[in-house]
């Protein structure tokens, strides 16, 4: 038998190579329902690649992925998203020629050509989503190239929320943000956590990450080198070595 019933999303023994480079080396990691997991590790450890495998954007060379206990290893990305796995990108990827509002509207679309043509879009939900990340009418009408990094990250979050996810995969959420923006985004994430959301958060900003997560997993060279509560993991000599090694 597998893990306890409340495991929501899991990678088991996943290996992913890019040519000769082993990006994921037998990685096993899981997140429980309602848990906020911090995923940390030096640059190039394979965190972003792990997200890619979880969403199906990267195909693993071996190993499997599970969602709600179902094997989703071969499930295409759009179906995983429809089932409740949503991610943000380390480098935000908004639709550049669309307003902020239209960006969120795309994320809200049903996956059916017939419905896209025949049904009117639900009214108000789009703006409500934007408001939930702190965007007003002014921002709704702006184009991505007019946004600050903090606003771009909020837009990414709004787009993932628009897909009505069960689990959020947030890649480097705090990178490039001001102190104030970090505080804003943290508050949003705390609210999500209270409402029962599940998340895996990748961040280099350990101080900002610590108060948000229940548990951390430390990766290095494509594998887990430590996991547990924040303080105890940071005291781990392996972790210190991995972090010092990259500096």
């Amino acid at each position: 038998m597998g893990r306890a019933v409340n495991t929501l999303l899991e990678l088991r023994e996943v290996t992913k190579r890019f040519g000769g480079l082993v990006a994921l080396d037998g990685l096993s990691v899981h997140v429980d329902s309602g848990e906020f997991l911090g995923l940390i590790g030096p640059n190039g450890a394979g965190k972003t690649t792990a997200f890619g495998v979880l969403t199906g954007e990267q195909r693993p060379d071996s190993g499997r992925g599970y969602f709600h206990g179902d094997d989703v290893t071969r499930m295409p990305t759009h179906r995983r998203v429809a089932r409740g796995i949503a991610r943000t990108y380390q480098i935000p990827r908004p639709f550049g020629e669309m307003t902020v509002l239209d960006n969120v509207r795309v994320a809200m679309m049903p996956d059916s050509v017939r419905r896209l043509i025949a049904e009117r879009p639900p009214e108000g939900v789009d703006r409500e989503l934007l408001r939930s990340v702190g965007f007003g009418e002014r921002e709704a009408a702006m184009y991505p190239d007019q946004l600050s990094m903090g606003e771009l990250r909020k837009l990414e979050l709004a787009r993932t929320l628009a897909t009505e996810p069960e689990v959020l995969l947030l890649d480097e959420v705090f990178a490039g943000l001001t102190r104030g923006e970090i505080a804003q985004l943290s508050a949003l994430l705390v609210a999500e956590r209270r409402s029962g959301m599940t998340a895996i958060i990748v961040s280099h900003d350990l101080r900002s990450l610590a108060p948000l997560v229940d548990r951390v997993v430390v990766m290095s060279f494509g594998a887990v080198i430590a996991e547990g509560a924040f303080e105890e993991v940071l005291d781990n000599p392996l972790v210190r070595e991995a972090y010092l090694g990259q500096a």
Binding site: T55, E57, P76, T77, H78, R79, V81, A82, A86, R87, Y89, R93, P94, F95, G96, E97, M98, D102, R105, V106, A107, M109, D111, V113, L116, I117, A118, E119, P121, R159, A162, T163
Partner: protein, 319 residues
């Protein structure tokens, strides 16, 4: 988006175009028939290339499938037109799915080249395989026409332009239009939004193929003949492409506008430049328009109208 204004625009377009034959010579009407066909092909091209960013260099392939299907059916089997034309369109739909194969893995230049290869392949096939059936290099002539005379053909083809244009406009102004635009901007992000990119592409390709098929089938029954040389031709392909880009891609009105503009441009250049040099000139004109306004004539007219509207309004108020 309020409906009334654009619908009024379509209505005005129809009224003007229906009155045109009253005021111009038969020769001009005949040119307009070609412009109508070009408009259909340009609209078709824009659905796949303008909207989704998959640049098709193989449109003559799609047009040719419908053209040859209905030509061969009527020529050899005396199939009635009401059956052979839909059969041609259906065959084009099947051909359109072939475009999906390269589009699963590649986009940009490579996709354009693969579709170009489709056109070239079709060109060779029509001549090599069963030339008795396809008419080989010389093609088939004596194919039945639907109506005769410039003016009836004008109304028939304009009816097609109008019906297809309005139909596309109605469909593409819904969320599907935004989904296809998103596909053009970032396919990966579309998948990450929970949308099947394959299904969206299939929709765009099928819609484009259906329009190309309708245009191709009617074109053959207008000409009364079909031949591979003129059809699977780079100049024909680029005329379609330039019409869409010049008029304004990712719109419905743009390709129509571009087709009329380009047809007349080519026609007026004909006395001075009878040879293929004409195509160089129109290439240059297209380039100038593109540099002035990358969104094409459509956008130029729009901005012009927006600037003019307050002036006209003021004049009306003034005593």
């Amino acid at each position: 988006m309020p409906l009334a204004r654009p619908l009024l625009g379509w209505l005005a377009f129809a009224v003007v175009m229906c009155l045109v034959p009253v005021f111009v010579s038969t020769g001009t009407v005949r040119i307009l028939v070609f412009a109508n066909f070009l408009a259909i092909f340009a609209m078709s091209w824009d659905v796949i290339s303008g909207r989704t960013g998959y640049i098709s260099f193989g449109h003559p392939f799609l047009i040719g499938i419908a053209g040859y299907t209905t030509a061969m059916l009527t020529y050899h089997l005396d199939t009635p037109l009401w059956l052979s034309i839909p059969a041609g369109v259906f065959a084009t739909l099947v051909g359109g799915t072939l475009f999906l194969l390269p589009a699963l893995r590649i986009r940009g230049t490579y996709f354009a080249l693969v579709t170009l290869a489709f056109m070239e392949l079709m060109y060779q096939l029509t001549q090599v395989i069963a030339p008795k059936v396809t008419g080989g290099t010389r093609g088939l002539s004596g194919i039945p026409t639907i109506v005769s005379g410039a003016i009836p053909n004008y109304y028939l083809t304009f009816g097609l332009v109008f019906a297809i244009g309005l139909g596309l406009w109605f469909v593409l102004r819904t969320r599907i239009g935004a989904a296809l635009a998103a596909l053009r901007m970032d396919e990966g992000a579309v998948a990450a939004s929970g949308l099947s990119t394959i299904r969206l592409k299939l929709f765009a390709f099928m819609t484009s193929a259906a329009v190309a098929g309708i245009g191709g089938a009617f074109y053959v029954h207008y000409l009364g003949s079909i031949a591979p040389r003129g059809l699977f031709d780079i100049n024909f392909l680029f005329t379609i492409l330039v019409a869409a880009l010049l008029g304004g891609s990712s719109t419905v009105a743009g390709p129509i506008l571009g087709a009329y503009f380009l047809t007349f441009l080519l026609e007026y250049l004909r006395p001075y430049l009878p040879g293929p040099e004409r195509y160089v000139i129109y290439g240059m004109i297209a380039l100038v328009v593109y540099v002035l306004e990358p969104r094409g004539l459509h956008a130029i007219l729009r901005t012009g109208a927006r600037r003019l509207a307050p002036l006209l309004a003021r004049r009306r108020i003034a005593p």
